[in-house]
């Protein structure tokens, strides 16, 4: 019963998206309203009906059978619904229809033509995704006969951070689709129609950027805590697929500031809005087509890949041709001084695009080589570290000083006077840190200087209390400084100790003494585990904490996992992983002392928080305008 309704609702949403597409061409308010609402409601229904099927463990549905099991904890029954390819498409569609609804909220008599053009493009995108789902990835497909129980769900995915990671990322991607549609609509306008398209685009870009930030951060947090080797970014193709749209969204965000302020760089911003979403779709392609394998890839089905590729081609060719033909009317040749706020935003834009191009190059290069020469090569972390880091360094330097500059050209001496306190503060903090950690490396110095350069410049702006400085900008930029601090500390000053231990053995790491107390056998909801108990003592022989790393076995899916045990404080993480061994020979244990790691997550959260404030400010502004 339920699956039939779910499938029906899915077809219904296809119907509404098609009707929205054609009706918005005619700009009929009442009919558009019906389409938008119909689209939203039908996708809500299909989404919740699939979720219901997962919650009640309806194994007559292939999707539930393949991805669930009666013993799976309820939280993961719910989130597991979108943790697979077919279910995640329903999530994509739902978020798409929600944003579609918000676009429609803009609709007024004086902008009706423009907004219906946005809705037209958005409808086309929705048609593309819904059709894809129905044709190649229908989650309501049945399995006959209905099964008793399911195949279970990969245990390393059963984690709260990972549960919420897809919805947040999709808000990001879909927000970029709304920006794309706004850009296309702006290009489609006739030469005599003047609409401040950037006012409509900005809230979507800010929302997309904010949620891409937190979505990516949660993915890294999950990797750090869950995968057991302390890494949090691997330049995996699918990580890159989320990072590239983020980079362009950052550039777009900043260029919209210039568009707002000086009405210049409009063509550039429009181009960015097209490219950002195109990259999101290409990212979808890389994940779901089977062209690469990665820890993240969902499906290995070339027909899905061909569909998405065609969809990308249609969107891309149409939008880029439109841009070529009609962007001229937005073109300007306004002058801007290099040493000004505008100049620094332009530098940021250029560098973000260059980093994006480099990451894109590294990601697809193995595929290009394979297609052209049948050889396989790897482009791994060392490539990205050697190329991306040198390009980001100047971007960060400019990011420190940019917001302090005025919009027009400024006297260089005046600039120097402004930033002198932060130069001083940066220098002092760098020296202090190096005295503390007693380790000197070029990367370390660079990282610390950059981190405190950002932090001190933003503190300067806070103390100046001038109304010119946007709160959300200061907070987000501060977050970046903290992020860099965390990245530098944890990469450069990490201490690793690997050793074989018998029960009651102890080891010293930094100022801590860690004693291997005992091994337990633990039973969990859907797993059994071997747990090591370690007591951590500080210099005064006080017990700081008890760490309990595990090696788990999930019988339903036949998986082994390692669960690291981590003690966190602001200065460092103590990270223990239990290896193999036995009571006779002892156990291999891996200890990590990770300085400042928590600042990576704090920094990301602060950036996110700044974004939220900006979304709020934007919404307030919109309310007063409309």
């Amino acid at each position: 019963m339920v699956p039939y309704f779910g499938n029906f609702a899915l077809w219904l949403s296809l119907f509404f998206s098609i009707s929205q597409f054609f009706i918005s061409k005619n700009n009929n308010f009442k009919l558009i309203k019906i389409s938008v609402n119909g689209l939203l409601i039908s996708s809500l229904i299909s989404f919740f009906l699939l979720m219901y099927s997962h919650v009640v463990s309806d194994f007559s549905l292939l999707n539930v059978f393949q991805n669930s099991h009666t013993t799976k904890p309820m939280l993961y029954k719910i989130s597991g619904m979108w943790g697979n390819h077919e279910g995640s498409m329903l999530l994509w569609i739902l978020v798409l229809t929600i944003f579609n609804y918000f676009i429609f909220k803009f609709y007024k008599k004086n902008n009706s033509k423009f907004v219906s053009k946005i809705l037209e493009t958005q409808a086309f995108i929705a048609i593309g995704f819904i059709l894809f789902t129905i044709i190649t990835s229908n989650p309501f497909e049945r399995i006959i006969p209905a099964q008793e129980n399911g195949l279970g769900f990969n245990p390393i995915l059963q984690d709260p951070a990972l549960a919420i990671h897809p919805p947040l990322l999709y808000i990001g991607y879909v927000g970029l689709s709304a920006a794309f549609s706004t850009g296309v609509a702006a290009l489609k306008l006739n030469d005599n129609e003047k609409i401040p398209w950037h006012i409509y685009m900005k809230p979507f870009v800010i929302t997309a950027w904010t949620f891409l930030t937190i979505g990516i951060a949660l993915g890294s947090i999950w990797a750090y805590y869950e995968l057991g080797w302390g890494g949090w970014w691997f330049w995996d193709p699918v990580e890159n697929a989320s990072f590239m749209p983020w980079l362009l969204a950052t550039a777009l965000l900043h260029s919209l500031i210039i568009v707002e302020r000086k009405k210049s760089l409009q063509t550039w911003a429009l181009l960015l809005s097209i490219l950002a979403f195109l990259l999101s779709v290409i990212g979808t392609f890389l994940v779901r087509s089977g062209i690469l394998t990665s820890v993240h890839t969902f499906a290995l089905d070339p027909s899905r890949g061909i569909y998405i590729l065609l969809f990308t081609a249609v969107l891309g060719i149409y939008a880029l041709m439109l841009f070529r033909k009609k962007s001229q009317k937005y073109f300007d040749n306004n002058y801007f001084a290099f040493f000004s706020k505008e100049g620094s935003i332009l530098v940021n834009n250029v560098l973000m695009v260059v980093v994006c191009a480099t990451v894109f190059l590294g990601t697809i290069y193995p595929l290009l080589i394979e297609a052209l020469t049948s050889n396989k090569i790897s482009v791994g972390e060392p490539f990205y570290n050697s190329t991306v880091i040198p390009i980001i360094v100047p971007a960060i330097l400019v990011m420190g000083v940019g917001p302090l500059l005025s919009w027009t050209k400024e006297d260089k001496l005046k600039i120097f006077k402004k930033i002198f306190p932060s130069i001083l503060f940066t220098g002092i903090m760098t020296i202090l840190i190096f005295l503390f950690y007693q380790s000197y490396s070029a990367i370390g110095i660079t990282g610390i200087i950059l981190a405190f350069w950002i932090i001190s410049n933003n503190l300067l702006m806070i103390f100046k209390k001038s109304r010119n400085y946007s709160t959300s900008m200061i907070i987000s930029h501060l977050g970046v400084g903290l992020l860099i601090l965390g990245i530098t500390g944890s990469s450069v000053w990490q201490i690793e100790k690997i050793t074989k231990m018998q029960i009651e053995d102890q080891i010293k790491i930094e100022k801590y003494t860690i004693v291997f107390e005992k091994i337990d056998e633990i039973k969990g909801a859907n797993y059994v585990a071997l747990q090591g108990n370690f007591l951590v003592y500080d210099e005064e022989k006080n017990v700081i904490t008890k760490l309990k790393p595990q090696k788990r076995f999930y019988p339903i899916t036949n998986n082994f996992t390692t669960e690291a045990s981590i003690h966190t404080n602001l200065l460092r993480d103590l990270y223990i992983v239990l290896g193999d061994g036995n009571l006779k020979d002892g156990w291999v244990v891996k200890f990590y002392y990770n300085p400042l790691v928590v600042w990576i997550w704090i920094g990301a959260l602060v950036i996110f928080f700044g974004g939220i404030i900006s979304i709020n400010n934007n919404l307030n502004k919109l309310r007063t305008l409309t």
């Binding site: 080797w229 993240h296 002058y335 250029v350 791994g380 690997i498 074989k500 090696k551 036949n558 996992t561």
Partner: protein, 134 residues
């Protein structure tokens, strides 16, 4: 459904096999700290062939362990870094290098980022110059 199938397989196999390893194990570590550091650095650039995007330094797969030990033996035998990389690429091809080699077919890969930066700088100055005239 095929989610992470390969990753699961790798964990499963690595845990199930007889000679288990857990990244650099204590009995692999060389006595000479300089040599050990060399071994770690080389290992960080060698891909684990049965993992997703990990180096043999991070991975606990048995093949990764074998290669780590092999590298350490070659260092003890006095081989230099190039010879060790060549030994591995002769057998596994360039795919095993996480840092792509500097070859004809990777010329574009290594040069293009510089080109991108130059193009970026060029665009900024070109736009600036052009608009100054107005």
């Amino acid at each position: 459904m095929i989610t992470k199938k390969i990753f699961i397989t790798f964990i499963f196999i690595s845990q199930l096999l007889l000679s288990n390893s857990y990244s650099v194990e204590p009995d692999e570590i060389l006595q000479n700290p300089k040599q050990e550091l060399r071994a770690r650095n080389i290992s960080k650039y060698i891909r684990c062939m049965v993992c997703q995007n990990q180096s043999i330094d991070e991975s606990d797969a048995p093949l990764a362990k074998d290669l780590r030990i092999l590298i350490r033996n070659q260092i003890k035998d006095g081989k230099n870094d190039e010879e060790i990389y060549k030994f591995l690429t002769d057998r596994y091809g360039d795919f095993i290098l996480l840092k792509p080699a500097f070859k004809l077919n990777t010329l574009a890969l290594w040069l293009l980022p510089f080109v991108f930066v130059l193009v970026g700088i060029f665009i900024v100055f070109f736009h600036n110059k052009k608009s100054k005239k107005i």
